[in-house]
Symmetry: C2
Subunit: 222 residues, 2 copies
């Protein structure tokens, strides 16, 4: 096969966000709040997964959600209707949250009594991976219809996440999704990745994910 020309375009420079994120992480640790940064493509099922987790937590955690969106506020209303304290963050067009924006959100939320705050980041596999939000847990969702090759194409996301959820497994019969190939890409990027297969729609696999998260949150808040 003929070689492909590969052109490297200019690179962006990241700022001092990493240091700021580390400060926020320690602030949250000292007030016994575990922040979970939830990242995925648009439409992978972030909100649906949170609704499924809410049931599966079975009251074991006091938790709330910060919904980050460019413009809409439908997700925050959805979470609130399910009895989960929720706040809506509008990023003014920005494609990700950095540590300072996350801090602004947490202050506005004003709930230092929660064991767990989930930041539902902007639906985007690229930019959120570049910006440490100060979270103790970085969780990414890949839905089956997106394809098994996403870890190869958006590698940074799978390097920075420590928990990966494969969602919409009820749709596996309809799509060409090779679990082994997907896991091969992920393990190469991140051998320690904690991997869960779920259907937020049918509930399959959600209990295992919820149990794991409850333990992670308790460990962080000890």
């Amino acid at each position: 096969m003929k070689d492909i020309d590969i052109i490297k375009l200019k690179e962006t420079i990241l700022d001092d966000n990493d240091a700021d994120a580390e400060v926020l992480r320690q602030e949250l640790k000292s007030q016994k709040t575990c922040l979970l940064n939830l990242m995925s493509s648009p439409g992978s099922g972030k909100t649906t997964t949170l609704l499924a987790l809410n049931k599966a937590f079975e009251g074991r955690l006091k938790w709330g959600v910060m919904e980050a969106d460019i413009d809409s506020d439908v997700d925050a209303y959805t979470m609130q209707a399910a009895g989960v304290p929720a706040i809506q963050l509008h990023t003014g067009g920005m494609c990700h949250l950095d540590a300072d924006m996350t801090r602004q959100g947490i202050r506005a939320f004003g709930r230092d009594d929660l064991d767990l705050i989930v930041l539902e980041n902007i639906g985007n596999l690229v930019c959120p991976a570049e910006f440490d939000t100060g979270a103790a847990i970085n969780m990414t969702i890949l839905s089956v219809p997106e394809g098994d090759d996403k870890p190869a194409k958006y590698p940074l996301m799978y390097e920075v996440a420590d928990v990966m959820v494969v969602n919409k497994i009820d749709a596996l019969p309809v799509f060409d999704f090779n679990k082994e190939r997907m896991e091969g890409y992920v393990r190469k990027l991140n051998p320690e990745m904690k991997l869960f297969y779920i259907s937020a729609k049918t509930g399959e696999g959600v209990k295992e994910l919820a149990d794991y998260l409850v333990e992670r949150v308790k460990g962080w808040n000890e």
Copy 2:
């Protein structure tokens, strides 16, 4: 229902990309090249749609593809294997292409004999919408599994695109996807949007899209 607190975080400022894009658009017009900027979430089926279009063009266009990816080069090989001239652009982690990066790509491609150059942008519903690449046609793909609410959540994409392709319609029976609701969101943002329903996998609807694009390209290059 209780109101949700909405916090406006800081906004980014766009640069003079728009002016640069307009210059590039006129340069391409004068050399009779139509540039199509193809945007979508990761996994919506951009490359599969291009492969389906290649068959449906039936030789009516001389065309080529610039595959923009953060790191991989699998898409450019896929297009080349199908007989389509292709070049791979690596963005060095960047989440979108701007007009200057697009110009770098077109120069490196070095094919001023093509009627149509497709820029397959980074899989991202947010950032590519903010940066005019100089394209004559801005096309976005929404796949059925992503959900009918994406235009409400990522409005800018549906404002800047003039052609919208709803892909994976073969999966409509498996997902809760309300066409009327989706079209309602889109028409509100962009009453002029040209809308096509296709399955790049089965070929359904692809001929209509191909016929339309052939006419658009001919019109531009006249």
